[in-house]
């Protein structure tokens, strides 16, 4: 079986429908 020296384990979810129009600093950015 496993015997793992875990530092971090994660389920990393992205809820795209709740995002503002553009991730970065573009003209569509909502700050």
């Amino acid at each position: 079986g496993a015997s793992l020296p875990v530092v971090v384990m994660a389920l990393y979810g992205r809820v795209f429908e709740k995002d503002p129009p553009r991730l970065g600093q573009g003209p569509g950015k909502s700050q």
Binding site: A2, V7, L11, R14, F16
Partner: protein, 448 residues
């Protein structure tokens, strides 16, 4: 072709001296040729080993230390691939384009597809209300040359990273795909992977088999390191991902790999040397058609049916990269815990080989808008080692662990079907697939 040989090259970019004013075009081309000289060795080595395609990193030809003005001499006019152009044959057709000519000849002379990241420039004028004051658009651009040296793809990075002030945003998100004898490819760049457009669209709507992914990614522990994050994305999106990163240990830039939906094929993580690294692996051209193609996962099925565990102990807050998590401490060597933040509840069942006094672990939940280097909505369940035995350090970067987990099962009541599962072991190593699995009801669990 049922299978093909993929190559990615982690490149230690030769950076230009930082200057206040733009260098001459000749100096710019000399610096870019120094980098292409290094890439040429990797291309030749990959081709000799039968590679069909090689991916090189974002900013791999001129680096990232620029202002809007000082990058100008490094830019070329990159036409739409529809013009059907082989720069190696007809280099002056769209003006002076020494970099595109050299990359095209490299691809043609070695009969290999080459993916590179360079700068595109497009003139504009006052008739275009969004035209910048200096009369041109400057784009962070991926280019692909096929094995005859033809320009077959051009992608303008849509989600620029905050420090990339030398580039403009494309007006709209482009979805760039192209067919090859070894499957259908999509392409995007670095920070795009956090986006729906184009990263999810190119997979879900355009049904590509493989994604080409130049990055200049600096690792941010615990949750934003290149190899764990990108291999998790490939697993969850169920496509091949060919990720080539820059190599610069002072900026914690390392971590490249070739990832298939069912398993990590090869990866490289090196914080010890300043060397580049070539990786090759065989991949299925169309993973969807393979018996190894992973089944779809309902990420909240198990957690929604599970009764929350009540440990009676109080939760506590902690920051991970500017996001405020809700944590609960794992006090025993085995146990069941639930921690919630708004409507996200995370469940954990685990068994350690022994509960060490000098190492503390916590289960954390985050459900909200991340706002630091961009704005995107996250739901995260995480089990992590705290930096010290002080609970205030839960969420701080940690590189090593002695505590061994013999069993674990992590799940969450996610409100999204896009969940990326990662496990990072001591020394930033990935857990081999034989030790864990993702069950169809959404549990990331040990394979006992």
């Amino acid at each position: 072709l049922d299978t093909f040989i993929a190559a990615v090259y982690e490149h230690a970019v030769i950076l230009p001296n930082s200057t206040e004013t733009p260098v001459s075009k000749g100096d710019a081309v000399r610096l870019m040729n120094k980098n292409i000289d290094v890439l040429e060795k990797a291309v030749k080595l990959a081709a000799k080993q039968g590679a069909h395609i090689i991916v090189t990193p974002e900013d791999g030809i001129y680096g990232w230390v620029f202002t809007r003005e000082t990058i100008y001499p490094y830019l070329e006019d990159i036409p739409d691939p529809k013009v059907n152009w082989i720069p190696c044959r007809d280099p002056q057709r769209f003006g002076h384009a020494p970099v595109q000519e050299r990359l095209s000849c490299l691809a043609k002379d070695n009969s290999i597809y080459i993916v590179a990241n360079i700068g595109d420039k497009k003139p504009c004028n006052a008739s275009d209300p969004q035209c910048p004051a200096d009369g041109r658009y400057q784009y962070n651009t991926n280019v692909v040359f096929d094995s005859e040296g033809k320009l077959v793809a051009r992608y303008h990075k849509y989600n620029l990273f905050a420090p990339e002030i030398q580039f403009d945003f494309p007006k709209d998100s482009e979805v760039v795909t192209f067919e090859t004898p070894f499957g259908k490819f999509g392409i995007f760049t670095c920070f795009d992977i956090f986006s729906h457009d184009p990263a999810v669209v190119v997979v879900d709507d355009f049904q590509v088999d493989s994604v080409l992914y130049p990055v200049a990614w600096y690792n941010t522990l615990p949750l934003l390191s290149a190899v764990p994050f990108q291999s998790a994305w490939a697993r969850a999106m169920r496509v091949n991902l060919l990720a080539a990163n820059t190599h610069n240990t002072s900026m914690h830039m390392t971590g490249s790999g070739i990832y298939a939906p069912e398993a990590v094929k090869v990866y490289h993580y090196d914080m010890e040397t300043e060397s580049g690294q070539l990786m090759l692996s065989e991949l299925k051209s169309q993973p969807r058609r393979e018996p190894t193609y992973p089944a779809a996962v309902d990420w909240s099925a198990y957690a929604r049916s599970a009764k929350p565990f009540s440990s009676g102990q109080s939760d506590f807050p902690g920051m991970i990269y500017f996001d405020e998590f809700t944590f609960t401490e794992l006090k025993e060597n085995t146990g069941n815990y639930t921690v919630c933040q708004k409507d996200l509840c995370c469940h954990l069942t685990y068994k350690m080989s022994e509960k060490r006094k000098d190492e503390v672990y916590a289960l954390g939940a985050f459900n909200g808008l991340h706002t630091v280097e961009g704005q995107y909505y996250l739901q995260i369940c995480t089990l992590l080692k705290c930096q010290t035995t002080d609970l205030k350090t839960c969420g701080e970067p940690v590189g090593s662990a002695f505590t061994k987990f013999e069993e674990f099962s992590l799940s969450g009541t996610f409100g999204t079907s896009y969940v990326f599962p990662q496990i990072v072991l001591s020394g930033s190593q990935l857990a081999p697939e034989r030790y864990y699995k993702v069950s169809r009801d959404g549990r990331l669990r040990s394979q006992s």
